[in-house]
């Protein structure tokens, strides 16, 4: 019996288990999934928790529920991937051999990477919203916060869900307006990039949004450290920004097991062919989702589109057929903007987010790069789609893995 081993039962790994389980010849192949955690999180929902829109019950389910029958699930930490020996060692030192390895170990925030971030202020007046612990702690803080300087800070790229900081800003503006204390809340966005919207088409359509919502921006700010005694963040070139409440998106990195196994770059992301999703170093290792170093967004939609293509390529690989260079970097993201409205963007390696309609030309129903109520309904419906279709590897009708230019205004 040969083995396909999947490391990680997050969005990408769970989808791959479901895809392959339907397509693989079970007489010849077995599938095993390893993950250290019991719970699966609907991570796009973390954004809504601080504002009381979602709670824990919306975003947490057991991982096991989504692993299909016939696929083995092992809950264990992974000690090391020994790629030269085609094996993985678990924390109890047991060894699992594989013929094909799929790395889906994701990415996560690493607050330790920023000096001072975990000092006195952490979870007192410094929060993240990329973890269940962070987003629920921030919800509790927001409940009785009377206002002051709210600084939303992005440490460095790449991050999971690159639009989340903007969504957080827009939702904050709405949340404090509804509460009637917006005049007491000074909102500032601090980013290492040159502006909030960095792509030309998005910048020309949406560039005024921060101004309209009275959100200030400090661009080109690369953080050196947090001075939590004096409540300020300091940049590498000694710029300072004061805060009363700091909401930060710390450095994002791949899992430590990638570093221990010598398979990653300086951020523990695995060098991966951006079209085939094969590891650049080992031909029987494939990488999917946030764990790769490819220049696509780290987002669930990307993992979803990759999943369909990677399934074909794994079948090609085990049948000794050439891999198809098919992944185009396709991403599809809602951007929640408050007041029950949202934007939608759909793009790939070559086509930046533009205006238009999605998925169908003219009739949509969703509008690209435009704020609508229907986009917001799409975003809210997505939780159901995620738990019931996406994770189970069921294709979403009308949305193929490749980006289409139909309905897009390209010029």
């Amino acid at each position: 019996m040969k083995k396909i081993l999947i490391l990680g039962a997050g969005t990408a790994g769970t989808m791959m288990a479901n895809h392959l389980n339907k397509k693989i010849d079970k007489k010849e192949w077995s599938i095993t999934v390893i993950d250290q955690y019991k719970n699966h999180y609907y991570q796009p929902g973390f954004l809504f928790i601080p504002f009381g829109i979602y709670s824990e019950k919306d975003v947490i389910k057991e991982k096991k529920k989504f692993i299909p029958k016939g696929v083995e699930f092992i809950q264990s930490a992974i000690e090391i991937i020994e790629a030269d020996k085609n094996q993985v060692k678990l924390e109890n030192n047991s060894v699992i051999k594989y013929d094909v390895l799929i790395i889906a170990t994701g990415s996560k925030i690493v607050p330790q990477e920023i000096e001072g971030l975990l000092d006195d202020g952490w979870r007192k007046n410094i929060f993240d919203f990329y973890t269940i612990e962070g987003s629920t702690a921030l919800r509790d803080k927001f409940k009785d916060w009377k206002g002051g300087k709210l600084v939303v800070h992005l440490a460095e790229m790449p991050i999971k869900c690159p639009v989340a900081p903007l969504e957080f800003l827009f939702l904050s503006d709405w949340f404090f307006t509804k509460k009637g204390i917006r005049k007491n809340v000074d909102i500032t966005y601090v980013t290492p990039l040159g502006s909030a919207f960095t792509k030309p088409r998005a910048a020309s359509v949406l560039g005024h949004m921060l101004d309209d919502k009275n959100i200030k921006i400090v661009p080109n700010f690369n953080i050196s450290h947090v001075d939590s005694k004096n409540n300020k963040i300091v940049s590498l070139d000694d710029k300072e920004v004061e805060y009363d409440l700091l909401v930060t998106i710390p450095t994002n990195m791949g899992d430590e097991v990638i570093e221990r196994s010598g398979l990653g770059d300086e951020l523990n992301f695995v060098p991966t062919d951006k079209h085939t999703l094969q590891s650049k170093e080992y031909e029987n290792i494939f990488v999917i989702g946030d764990a790769t170093d490819i220049p696509a967004s780290k987002a669930g939609s990307v993992a979803h589109f990759e999943g369909e293509i990677l399934t074909d390529n794994i079948l090609n690989f085990i049948n000794n057929k050439p891999l198809e260079k098919k992944f185009d970097g396709h991403a599809n993201c809602y951007i929640e903007s408050g007041y029950n409205k949202a934007f939608l963007i759909d793009f790939n390696y070559d086509v930046e987010p533009v205006e238009g309609t999605f998925p169908l030309p003219v009739v949509g129903p969703f509008s690209l790069l435009k704020e609508t109520r229907i986009n917001h309904l799409g975003k809210m419906a997505f939780k159901h789609i995620y738990w019931n279709l996406l994770l189970k590897g069921i294709p979403i009708p009308g949305i193929p893995p490749h980006m289409t230019t139909k309905g897009k205004k390209l010029n």
């Binding site: 040159g194 030309p200 080109n220 690369n222 070139d237 300086e266 951020l267 793009f347 987010p353």
Partner: protein
């Protein structure tokens, strides 16, 4: 996208003056672009950064981060800031004929 003269060469640039066709880049154009961002002279240390960025984009299809320029390129971040003050990645990328550091939107 517009055409522009830089060091006697006609090049295509975007609205922020970044080259849109990396094949049009050469060292004389780099010197002219450096002046645009307030760097009067490109020293050997500047060229080391520029060449590292170009190599990375060619090999990986993306601009390296400041962290990677330090860890893989061997250029200390303090030095990077001295060479390209204020927004080092944006400035160095512009001079190297590459796209600016960007997010997905």
């Amino acid at each position: 996208m517009t055409e522009k003269m830089l060091a006697d060469f006609t090049v295509n640039v975007n609205e922020e003056g970044y080259l849109t066709d990396p094949s049009q880049w050469n060292k004389e154009i780099a010197v002219a672009l450096a002046k645009e961002v307030g760097i009067e002279e490109l020293t050997e240390a500047h060229w080391k950064v520029i060449e590292f960025l170009q190599k990375e984009v060619k090999e990986n299809g993306k601009l390296p981060t400041i962290r990677r320029i330090n860890k893989v390129g061997g250029i200390p971040t303090k030095e990077l800031y001295q060479l390209f003050p204020d927004g080092p990645l944006a400035k160095a990328a512009k001079i190297a004929g590459l796209s600016k550091p960007a997010s997905c939107i």
